[in-house]
Amino acid sequence: MTARTGAMDAVWLMYRRDLVLAFRHWDQAAQPVVFFAMVTTLFPLALSPELGELRQLAGGALWVAALLAALLGLEFLFRSDHIDGTLEQLLLSGQPLALMAVAKVAAHWTISGLPLVLVSPLLATGLGVPTGALCTVMLSLGLGTGILSTVGAIGSALTLGLRRGSMLLSLLVLPLAMPALIFGARAIDMAIHGDTARGPLLLLAAMLVLAVTLAPFAAAAALRISAE
């Protein structure tokens, strides 16, 4: 009889497992990024091709697009595991469920959040954001998508297996994401105008820390409830 896997080893294994699975379905994994690019393109089409005007809204537009794209990907966080029965096994695996949730959220962010962040400088430039602000754009969206993945996991766990679950998921997660939206878009705006965005960025970081500390427990509780 071999030794039990330690909790941290299990976290790493879970993370790798989700990444491997995502790569086998890379067409599905690419959807959030494509959606992000398309929604960002909607703004110039709807408003004006003038970069000067777009620059005023760039922070908000990028953030709203990222939020919607992240919501799109959230539904799948636990869904496939729920359908094929592996989630059940995870509940019974003897590993702390909150830690397993952290692993899955981290994998989810790597697959759907990180690509958004990497693509954002291109899209931001398209909206008239000066080069000096691009770093802030990436940081703001990086922290923001992290918060979204973490808090969204709770919504995803609560709405597992429900009909029209994706609509309900958005309904539940959006109000919780509004504070992050406020500070994230503000950070980009400040950077565009040449001010340092340290204040909002630090607040975003604080929100992320709070989310990562508390949300996994809520998600774990929600997973147990949904598995019944």
Binding site: T5, T86, E88, L91, L92, S93, G94
Partner: protein, 195 residues
């Protein structure tokens, strides 16, 4: 215990010790799956308590989970992973595994030839056998099996009952829900009728 608006499983008491095999019997809808899920800790009964080694399972869910293997209606396999990958990841979360351990358990369920095929291209019977392999590989004292013989041919049924017998020989406990009484060699099953 309530299931939606229906009340099932009232007034039940189950006891199992090491080496015991309990066969949960009853027609469809009598609550076999519900009972097994309650015993596995997936469902919480309205009244009543489940204890393992004298302690209620609610006190330390993780320790209880580490001591049991559950086989439910779904096989608990990722369709995208091969048989080996499934075992490596799913059981690897619980126990350190070596490649040889995985190969040996696959041969015990007669799956050696299909071990590198993705699970979605396996037949239903092969997937069930792979699920049983998962149960064996986790090497826990308690097995809770819900309809383990579904989709298995007679050779498969024979194979699985032998494996259950070996588990009981080694002092393990098995709770099996099944339409037909499992003919486990060397061990007589206590029958629990839910009709």
């Amino acid at each position: 215990m309530w299931r939606g608006e229906r009340s099932v499983l009232s007034g039940l008491s189950v006891d199992a010790a090491a080496g015991d095999c309990v066969h949960v019997a009853g027609p469809n809808g009598s609550g076999k799956t519900t009972l097994l899920r309650v015993l596995a800790g997936l469902l919480t009964p309205e009244r009543g308590i489940v204890t393992w080694q004298g302690r209620p399972i609610a006190a330390d869910r993780e320790a209880y989970g580490a001591a049991l293997s559950y086989l439910g209606h779904s096989d608990g396999l990722k369709p995208e992973f091969t048989a080996r990958e499934n075992l490596a990841f799913e059981v690897g979360l619980r126990r350190r595994l070596s490649a040889s351990a995985i190969d040996s358990v696959l041969s015990r369920v007669a799956m050696t030839d299909s071990r590198d095929l993705p699970a979605r291209s396996l037949s239903a019977g092969q997937r069930r056998r792979l699920a049983i392999a998962r149960v064996i590989l986790t090497a826990t004292p308690l097995w809770i099996l819900d309809e383990p013989f579904t989709n298995l041919d007679s050779a498969g049924v024979q194979c699985v009952t032998d494996l259950i017998a070996k588990h009981l020989d080694a002092g393990g406990t098995a709770l099996i829900a099944s339409h037909h009484a499992p003919a486990v060699p060397r061990h007589a099953a206590h029958r629990l009728d839910l009709a």
